[in-house]
Amino acid sequence: MSSLWYASVTIFVKDLRSELRTRYSLNSLLMFVITTLSVILFSLGSENVSSDVLSGVLWIIIFFSTMSGLSRSFVSEEERGTVMTLQLTARPLAVFFGKLLFNTVLLAALNLLTVTLYLLFITNFVVQNYTIFITTMGLGTIGLASASTILAAIIAKANTKGTLYPVLSFPILLPLLLTVINATKMSVEGAAVYEAFSEFQILISYFIVITTISYLLFEFVWKE
């Protein structure tokens, strides 16, 4: 067990290092978030949009940043031609958990940025219950990351990777998106924490189900 953990962390560190070394993708992701947020701000103008709508918009931004950024973990391996080396040197599960860890950390950083900017610049969006909000963000992030990782592994082997990724992801992520948007609405309306428990239950079970099924199916995707 510890060797699996060690191998996964090694792959995570490798990915982290290569991303930090070149920074192309990190910069473009950063710009993506800023650009999308600017478009939203321009289109809202001085209008008073209800916080319900704003909760949805926040998750639209997060969803599309996920779609831009999280496929890189597998697609970059294909592009650089390092897939075979990775297949030979690491166990499939180590690759899976390493990439999952990388995607989670990347998404957590992206979401932190998005949420901070969103709260700063969109004045109508005021969170009343921070416990619900932070828990939703946390559970939403890990859920998004786990689904995106297995799907990234699938599309990395396909032809039209870029356009295929959102097409495949949307039906799978829909339960998650509906639940987090609902929970975010609750946090803005100032609901009590216990009212959001069923949402949290759904998010936790989604994460467990998706991670388990990905773990079981990853070898089929990864091996030729």
Binding site: L151, I154, N159, L164, L168, P171, L174, S198
Partner: protein
Amino acid sequence: MLGKTILGVWLSAVILVAFSFPMVHHPSEWYQFPVIPGLEDKARILFFHVPMSWTAVVAFILAMGYSIRYLVKKNMDDDIKSASAAGLGLVFCILATVTGSLWAKFNWGSFWNWDPRETSIFVLLLIYGAYFALRSALDVEERKATLSAVYSIIAGVTVPFFIFILPRIVASLHPEPIINNRGKIDMNTTMLVVFLCSLAGFTALFFWMWHLKVRTERLALVHQTEGE
């Protein structure tokens, strides 16, 4: 040959009956349907829309089952069966969405309302669409089969979540269309019989079409491998 003919006659009879049996307020004869207040003749959609959505779901479960079988046994035949089921499921799903949408227009005044049933059939449509988009983006047969099998399993696993989530999210919208209403109202015997016949007929239609498609695809595969 005989099976095909029986199926043809059966479904034609169902369609004829669904449209011709009169709807009266107090059915006295065996061939009369009761009038449901507010629905009247529009209730006839029950005989077509529900079996179609049912078949679309059965097709998906079948596709998923054969996907699992393919991953375990790596038999290309299972992939053919899975993809054919998905193809037909897509057709039935489109039909179910369109008939449902038309009915919604006549009953509630708008084509689409995002209530739980509508949303779930739409999600099923998205899953089918994504499945075929994935298949068309892969060239190598074996990879196509493996990856689409993996995707259909992942998609199948997320479907149960909708059953729990949707009623909570869209509780404020319209009441359920026909299915749940029917569940609560005791269906008149005549209607029930016609409905079950329609359900059986559409399911049989699906299996017949599926059988044909699988045979065609098998021949196509043989033709392709011989050509290489």
